[in-house]
């Protein structure tokens, strides 16, 4: 029982970074989403050739239009088209949303720890926005690792939520830090997680999303710090060797 492909029109778009773009898509026939789900995107060439990829939704659960944020992969086939070429008013096809496991619903009372590597922040942003839309009160933390300050998605929105005390945000820069930043550039460590993250005693629901190596490291640190592996949900992208 696979959902059918349905049309989606690009109604708005904005650049999140010099190489990533949020696409606002009106897809009236797509099913309502849960926070954390992804959608398949299909492109069709003149000769009928098609290419499809899966992208996490960034928009809050159940809302229309839907939003995805696409990171341009230099030698990619689909992402350069979505970032550089697809114009407002143009149509693509989408299927889903799908994925039932890496999801969060705002009725859950448990504290939530979100750990993002790079564009892995996208489905976690859907959770943050879903909580805002619902006026949720479950405590929420976001640890967001990215190479450089220019690479941050949704920075203004996250800073605003943090300033209002809605969410506890910590950025980790692995290559370059902003001027005057109190920490050195470097990867997420066990010490950093121990220092920032909710304690295992609070039994948070944990969502970790990012490149495979990042998720392996972060999830392993969390388990060794005492977090219950059954409370840690992961989504990895990109191949290993």
């Amino acid at each position: 029982m696979t959902a059918p492909w349905v049309p989606a029109t690009l109604v708005d778009a904005r650049m999140e970074t010099p190489w990533s773009r949020t696409l606002v898509l009106d897809a009236p026939e797509a099913r309502p989403s849960l926070a954390g789900q992804s959608i398949d995107v299909r492109l069709t060439a003149e000769d009928g050739y098609t290419a499809q990829r899966s992208y996490s939704l960034a928009s809050p659960a159940g809302t229309r239009p839907i939003e995805i944020t696409v990171d341009k992969i230099a030698d990619g086939e689909v992402s350069p088209y979505l970032v550089d070429q697809l114009g407002v008013g143009h149509m693509i096809e989408v299927r889903g949303p799908g994925g039932r496991f890496f999801t969060w619903t705002p009725d859950l009372p448990d504290p939530v720890l979100l750990v993002a590597g790079g564009s892995g922040v996208v489905p976690l942003m859907a959770m943050i926005r879903t909580r805002e839309a619902a006026g949720g009160t479950a405590p929420m933390q976001l640890l967001y690792s990215v190479r450089t300050p220019e690479g941050l998605f949704y920075r203004d929105e996250l800073d605003e939520l943090a300033a209002r005390g809605r969410i506890d945000v910590r950025y980790v820069f692995t290559r370059t830090v902003p001027a005057g930043w109190p920490h050195q550039a470097g990867r997420i460590t066990r010490e950093l997680l121990a220092d920032f993250a909710m304690l295992p005693e609070h039994d948070p629901l944990v969502y970790v999303c990012g490149p495979t190596g990042f998720v392996e490291a972060a999830a392993t640190h969390l388990v060794r710090l005492g977090h219950n592996p059954l409370r840690i949900k992961t989504e990895r992208f990109g191949p290993t060797g």
């Binding site: 696979t2 492109l43 114009g87 149509m91 096809e93 890496f102 495979t212 999830a219 290993t240």
Partner: protein, 196 residues
Amino acid sequence: MGIFSPGFTGRRREHVPDLPPGQYLERGFPVLTTGPTPHIDRRDWQLTLTTETGERRSWNWQQMLDLGPEEISTDIHCVTAWSKLGTTWRGVPLDRFLDGVETHAQYVMAGCYGGYTTNIPLQESLGRAWVAFEYDGRDLEPEHGGPARLLVPHLYFWKSAKWVNSLRLMREDSPGFWEQNGYSMHGDPWREERYW
């Protein structure tokens, strides 16, 4: 001009005759796991087989090796639409764990470190399923299921359970983790048995 994605040309087409319907060729080896990777030492590793009458047998690492591993060269197909062709593995055929076991079971439920489960049809998997511990000439990495995973390449790869530590023989079919969460009970990539 087509209705969808105007101006999209796509990459130079690669003709791949061995791909099941809806699959694309992947050169890397993606990792799809719903939780943290368990890190199990081979010295602590154990595999337990339970028959439908409750009879149990267990193997530690050396005892598993003593059953006689073999080389496997096979294509693998993930339900998320990637396939890898010509992968090489080393593992012990499932049949060897069943030598001398009296059973009328038709299915096996594989269980894993970390709690994952998946159901596999027994008869059609004999000679086509292994407990694999090497990939591409090296010890299987933990994120790919090491120290040992099931390898059932004629079915979608969620059936090839990572970190396998139990095999429970069953007379009747019963859904494992993904099978309870929307995936096919069988999962034949050539018939595109992805979802219910």
